[in-house]
Symmetry: C2
Subunit: 347 residues, 2 copies
């Protein structure tokens, strides 16, 4: 493999035509350039024989576009974002673009660098899901004149498509309140909220919805009902262990803010007997298909990842570039718990 790559010049020379002709043939514009079919065929054939491969960097340099559609996610190993990636890929392919997906590990600096790199590759447009530093992203895209849309987490003064965190949390809280068994012990007879913080966009809205809904339905709400322990499963585990020990059992209602928090809770639950779960109603703000089959019923909120992506593409198509926020409704998923005979009344 000492021979360097074949270019249109090589082919032109081989066939005794001009590079321009070869170019036209190879990129499909030869009909409008009214190039003879025999020439075209022959050129194609030579290209194939010599294993010609297009140099997209050269084309991109010339045309000032790359045909790349960029998508940035915080992490790949997360159902919600992975599902968005999937939808993004499909639609980008539909449009004959090359989807390029990058992740930032939630690091603002890496986010900025990634955006810069993508811009430097002359991407056609950029979607950013769960941005860490929306303002910087906005500034970079704007100055490079690259169309961009935020997903899941909105940017100020930019086009954004987000999930209805408030509405979803309200639904979930209502469901928990509805199905909360009545218990004697006053300290147990209250809904608790666990997981995440109050600093990120989504969690702030969810927590507010939880509070509003509890209060508006005449429930009590004290500070000790809110356990902000971040997203790490291990923290959630110790936090919920502490709670259950303080209270002497599971509270009758539990709003769990993410699937990772839930995993932590499960680690604590693992040693508990079945009756431990008899007097509680649990909701998780996230979706996982297997959680639906646990021995106790879990109410889950599934965000519409496909819907988010497809709306973002609609926004991109509408030439209206004014900032606007589109809100997509999530869905409440009922438990499918195996314990039909036991819990079905509160399912």
């Amino acid at each position: 493999m000492t021979q360097s790559k074949t270019t249109i010049y090589d082919i032109a020379k081989l066939r005794g035509v001009s590079p321009g002709t070869v170019s036209a043939v190879l990129n499909g514009t030869w009909k409008q350039r009214r190039i003879g079919e025999k020439t075209a065929l022959k050129i194609q054939q030579i290209a194939d024989e010599h294993g010609y491969t297009l140099n997209l960097q050269a084309r991109g340099l010339r045309t000032a576009r790359s045909g790349i559609a960029g998508f940035i996610v915080p992490v790949h190993d997360n159902r919600f974002f992975a599902s968005m990636s999937h939808a993004f890929e499909a639609e980008a392919r539909n449009r004959d673009l090359c989807p390029v997906i990058a992740s930032t590990s939630r690091d603002p600096e890496q986010e900025a660098r990634t955006v810069e790199t993508l811009i430097a590759h002359a991407i056609d447009f950029l979607f950013i899901a769960g941005a860490n530093d929306p303002n910087t992203v906005s500034a970079l895209c704007k100055s490079a004149n690259v169309p961009y849309i935020f997903l899941d987490l909105p940017g100020e003064n930019a086009r954004s498509v987000v999930s209805n965190n408030y509405g979803g949390a309200e639904m979930l809280t209502r469901k928990i309140l509805e199905t909360m068994p009545s218990v004697e012990d006053a300290r147990l007879a209250k809904p608790y909220y666990i997981g995440g913080g109050n600093d990120d966009y989504a969690s702030t809205l969810r927590l507010k919805a939880f509070k509003d809904t509890v209060l508006s339905t005449g429930g009590q709400l004290a500070d000790d009902q809110i356990l902000l322990c971040g997203y790490a499963p291990s923290h959630a585990e110790s936090e919920i262990a502490g709670l259950c020990e303080r209270l002497g059992g599971l509270p009758s209602g539990l709003f769990i803010n993410s699937i990772r928090t839930f995993e932590g809770a499960l680690s604590y639950f693992v040693n508990k007997p079945a009756h431990f779960f008899a007097n509680t109603s649990i909701g998780v703000y996230d979706y996982d298909p297997i959680s639906a089959f646990l021995q106790f019923p879990i109410h889950m909120v599934r965000q519409d990842s496909k819907g988010l992506v497809s709306k973002a593409f609609e926004l991109l198509d509408s030439k209206d570039e004014s900032a606007r926020l589109i809100i997509i409704e999530p869905e409440l998923v009922a438990p499918r718990t195996i314990y039909g005979s036991f819990f079905s009344d509160i399912g």
Copy 2:
């Protein structure tokens, strides 16, 4: 935003120096070019003020490399592949490369097109996980002189890093056989295998390991113990429903070939009472954290996605380009089922 992008020429003119100088300053080679520090600083400043952004396509065209590391996965929304993507991103970033991840939806044609596109962008190297048509991928990369490594599914005559499917399935089968409760009914007292096909690389090995292990431990093995129903959860659901109806219950051993097959099985299990699961031992060839907490114990195999990726990078670094197959061991994950009191003896 009518002004077009700033280039090194603009900056050169602004400062009254030559484009070459600006280039050297902006790409960090100015020290070895022995350019004055004051000049360098000034040029940097002008670049910043004018929002200069590098054009990587131009650089790539010139240098014939792009600084892009390519990774192809079949799908994004899958724990195993998502985890590999994550590891890939991290390591590529470590090396100051831009990680680009694309998926093919298991479509060989899309796979080929994606490889071509990435090659056309002059990627530095390519990893392909779960390739659909390894031979085509090999041919394309080889002819473009792009280093490439297969992951999870090996290519003929190419460097590959794969999971030990045979060994993993053997472990899992052994564990199932060990923990299989003894039952009266002869038709139930056998291990069954469900899910996938016998055409793809991984499944072939797993099935073979299952058969070998069952036979080598003196077990019986008839055709009806093997249910190849593909990967769709819905197929798995009806298949397992049929099986349980034929047998009058769950067999005492069940080898489930993938998490999606398992999801299908759960859909059938959902209406069953607890005693339905009393006399069975279930193993799943895949890992899911929440499955570990189901009411009946699930033995799982977790493939070492990080290990696969890191070995692939090692292979890339070793300049030895000869084809070789590296095998990574998966891990058997014990159940953490909540039913400690009930199933702990067979856990």
